[in-house]
Amino acid sequence: MVGFRTGLQIGVALMAAVLAAVLLPRYLELFTLINATVFVSMGVLALSLGLIWGFGGILCFGQTAFFGLGGYTYAVASINFGDTTWAIPLALALPTAVAAALGYLMFYGRISDVYMGVITLTTTLILFKFANSTAGDQWKIGSSPLGGFNGIPGTPPLNVPFDPGTQLAPDQIFVIAVLCLGLCYAAAKLILRTRFGRVSVAIKENELRAELLGYDVRLHKMALFAVGGFMAGLGGILFANCVFVSPTMFSLSYAGQVIIWVLVGGIGTLAGPVIGCILIQTLTTYAGTLSMIDPNLLLGALFMLAVVAVPKGLLPTATNLLAKLARRGDES
């Protein structure tokens, strides 16, 4: 059973996604729309970390590993198949499986939180190094070269299922990306309402108590981590559709940014990380086009400002403020 509040939140999110999908392609220029698709794909990545960290207590410092794996698998598979239809399930399955395997090693190995951060960061950096070193003709998977530092520039955009001749235009890809983000949000909300989701939150609250109540903490964490891998992989597929895949997807700078999006937007919420991501990406990209200030410098400054001014994150702070105002309104 979905409660009224959850139902309302899902309804609003889906409505917003549909509105954005209908309205934005009409009013935004192509370049801006492609940029918006990039932000939305990153929003999916932010949501994936927001879910596993905010509600499962799993601080994954290398969520980009699954983002990049999703993107690379999509690119390589769609080039090889000459069709993106089967590339998508493959590009969702691989990051999910890798997340499950990595989760198995970490959680069944009883790795503590700090080391988990180190291991996940190292994983994405290893993939970054590896992807960087795949320049030259000898690095090919089937007919797709991996391209080293340059990545795979010829990543095919989505086509109509089983019709490789009909590729989707950037505005159509934007629509799909926004709807994917809306659906991921709805799915995450629903997951948190299930027994699995509630046990995950309980594990975040107190692992020992959850275990003493008979819940297999390691299995739960592994499953949630795999869900996060799936979502990040989806973000990677969408990203590959509007930019192209390159080792940057695995990079330290991306890995760090995801953490910042979640913290600025509000950990312990689902919409917060998405809002944080889109806001920060818009600001830093805008700063980049002005060429007045280094975007990374701006990102760092924004992060420090947010930590000091809104330590709980933008969304929880705004919600608290609204609640206070409403209470004051009721009293007067």
């Binding site: 939150v201 309980a202 107190n206 275990e211 109540l213």
Partner: protein, 238 residues
């Protein structure tokens, strides 16, 4: 009488320190057993071995005759063992009701879990705290909410590690009544060092000293034994 939980020569060594040294013990169905001993006697280590939090370095643990020595805490809990730790171990961010529902949700559907959670909270006389966030409750209330979580799934055996730690005299008195009441339906093992408290609830008492069982008998005999007094006063015991 059926033996519910038993250990055979249980041993737990941490480097050069042997915290539990060959403990053999059996708890019967419906029994109320107290494990007592001064600080450092090995009671809590023994408790953690029983509940799967420590893997013993020697000996065996049996549940209804089945070897469960290597089981993890969640698997021990699934056998029908309710476990309460010394420091209340709770979900501070959830309400008392949500916490207790989770305790039963593994076994029952949502509606039945809610019914049982309400019943457990009322049984422990904290029915009015259902909607309160656990993290905001007072220590004594937290102990009771945790006990509600332990009792709600109706385990065959409840293991309580120092249930009166941090309680006032009045709360301790209530806890004693509660344990006696719970014992009507569940076997209970109480790990405790408060002799006064044990005196009010005890049936059979096992006295731990330096990781071993010093003696095991009815409460009356144990409390009269000069060796037990000496152990508590820190005197050497032969």
């Amino acid at each position: 009488m059926t033996v519910l939980l038993s250990t055979d020569g249980l041993r737990m060594r941490f480097g050069g320190v042997v915290a539990v040294d060959g403990v053999t013990l059996a708890v019967n169905e419906g029994e109320l057993r107290c494990l007592i001993g001064p600080n450092g006697a090995g009671k809590s280590t023994f408790f953690k071995c029983l509940t799967g939090q420590y893997k013993p370095t020697g000996g065996r643990i049996f549940w209804r005759g089945r070897d469960i020595t290597a089981l993890d805490p969640f698997a021990v809990a699934r056998l029908g063992v309710g476990i309460k730790t010394q420091v209340p171990s709770l979900f501070d961010g959830l309400t008392a009701m949500e916490g207790v529902v989770l305790a039963v949700r593994r076994l029952h559907g949502e509606a039945e879990a809610r019914r049982r959670a309400v019943r457990a909270l009322e049984r422990l006389e904290v029915g009015d705290l259902g909607n309160r966030r656990i993290g905001l409750l007072a220590h004594g209330q937290r102990q009771l909410v945790e006990l509600a979580m332990v009792v709600a799934p109706e385990p065959d055996l409840i293991i309580l590690d120092e249930p009166t730690a941090g309680m006032s005299a009045e709360e301790t008195g209530r806890a004693a009544d509660l344990i006696r009441e719970l014992n009507r339906e569940h076997a209970i093992v109480v790990v405790e060092h408060d002799m006064q408290f044990i005196r009010t609830i005890a049936h059979t008492v096992t006295v731990f000293h330096q990781g071993r069982v010093l003696m095991e008998d009815s409460a009356e005999i144990v409390f009269k034994d000069p060796r037990v007094r000496d152990v508590y006063l820190g005197k050497a015991v032969a």
